[in-house]
């Protein structure tokens, strides 16, 4: 169990059976009064934030999170299927649980999934992924205005803005943190 002396930004604790991370922390103590610990907490499952003020003597349950290295297999009507590369056990996540990561998941991609008591909380993707452009309008030749972009559709179904010279069939390097086009992938 943690006590108030452990409280700090980044600490993960359980409140009402859900994992929270402390995003802001303030020690407050009037000269003759008790110490109070004012925290901003973010629910690691729902993302909602809340404020709580704790006292010395309060105890906190550490949030035991497990990070599992998994491989993305495929998705179908049941959800997104991943395989634990150590145990070969399979796990299915809903589209909601996968979240924005679904825009970048490619077959056999290796990811790290953070679990809390068996519930997936977040997926860490590799920083860059190569994805094929499956739909693009041809660029208008002669249009060399810098910064001009057009939307294309990637193999995951995700649409992004790219420079005009990109065509269907091109494989692009995408930054998974921002969702932005980086450059054309080296063959």
């Amino acid at each position: 169990m943690y006590d108030s002396s452990h409280l700090r930004k980044g600490l993960k604790i359980v409140i009402d059976d859900e994992p929270y991370i402390i995003t802001d922390f303030q020690f407050s103590k009037p000269g003759k009064g008790q110490a109070l610990y004012r925290c901003k907490l973010k629910n690691m499952i729902t993302g909602y934030t809340m404020d709580r003020t704790f006292r010395s003597g309060d105890k906190f349950q550490p949030a035991n999170l497990e990070e599992v290295h998994m491989q993305y297999l495929y998705n179908d009507g049941d959800g997104y299927h991943f395989m634990d590369l150590k145990s070969y056990e399979q796990v299915t996540l809903t589209e909601e649980q996968v979240g924005d990561a679904k825009n970048f998941l490619k077959d056999n991609m290796e990811v790290d999934i953070l679990f809390f008591k068996g519930t997936p909380i977040s997926i860490s993707l590799p920083t860059f992924v190569d994805l094929e452009v499956i739909e693009a309008m041809p660029g208008v030749k002669g249009d060399t205005a810098t910064g001009a972009t057009k939307p294309v559709t990637l193999e995951t179904g995700h649409k992004i803005q790219v420079p005009l010279f990109i065509e269907e069939g091109d494989v692009l390097k995408i930054d998974t943190r921002t969702g932005d086009y980086v450059e054309r992938a080296k063959k």
Partner: protein
Amino acid sequence: MDQGFIEVNTPLLVSTLAPESNIEAFNLSTDKNKSLRYLITSPELNMKRLLASGLDKIFQLGPVFRKGERGALHLPEFYMVEWYRKNADYRDLMKDCEQLLIKTNKAAGNNPLSISYKNTQISLKPPYHLITVDEAFKKWAGWSPVEIYDPNRFDYDLVTKVEPNLPKDRPVFLIDYPAWQASLARLSPKNKKIAERVELYINGVELANGFSELVDRKEQEQRFASESKEMEKKNLKPYPKQDLFFKALDHLEECAGMALGVDRLIMVLTGKEKIDDVVTFVPEES
């Protein structure tokens, strides 16, 4: 303090302190017999002994030590200026604060009557806001700690509801604390539910704490005894009996004393929001 105050330096290492269940002192063994000595959390007891022995107006400017206090406004070792006046009460202390703020503000190179702190213009021209604890809690917390005894709720609401709502355009004196929060202050002769205690705030920052001092030995002994019990409840070892201090109380006339956090004063005068920015080295780097 050019009003004839004598600067004194009482020991930092002492054999006993005034019991406080919410302040933990650093303790040290000074010899193989393991006798405990403490670093002062305030020079109060020894300064009162000096007053009892004949001095009239004294101040001490030096470090005090409080275990486990670390935050944007807290350091376990910080500077306090503590002053005492004979034949005075807490209203005289408030006047002292007004003068002190103006003079130090001028010395800091600012327009003496005004500071800008945390994006707020603060006028130092007296009179400052005067709010009783009863008024403040009724207004911002919906109850009166003068009528109801609830230490946990008091501390919580003070920090979360009262302090953030104190006016910011001028300094604030929060006065007349409940008798059960009296500490070493005497009770008001007009109302036994209230203690003549005052705290100075500037834009939500607690700067100073002062009392019309309790000089009744018996009452002080009783308060120390019950506060020591509170310390034991929190697993803090009570201090040795404060005999030298009690003896001095027999000879102490009416007086008033105040303690002000110098680091925080400097923060306010120079616009710093973290105490780290006004000290040479913080504990994490010393």
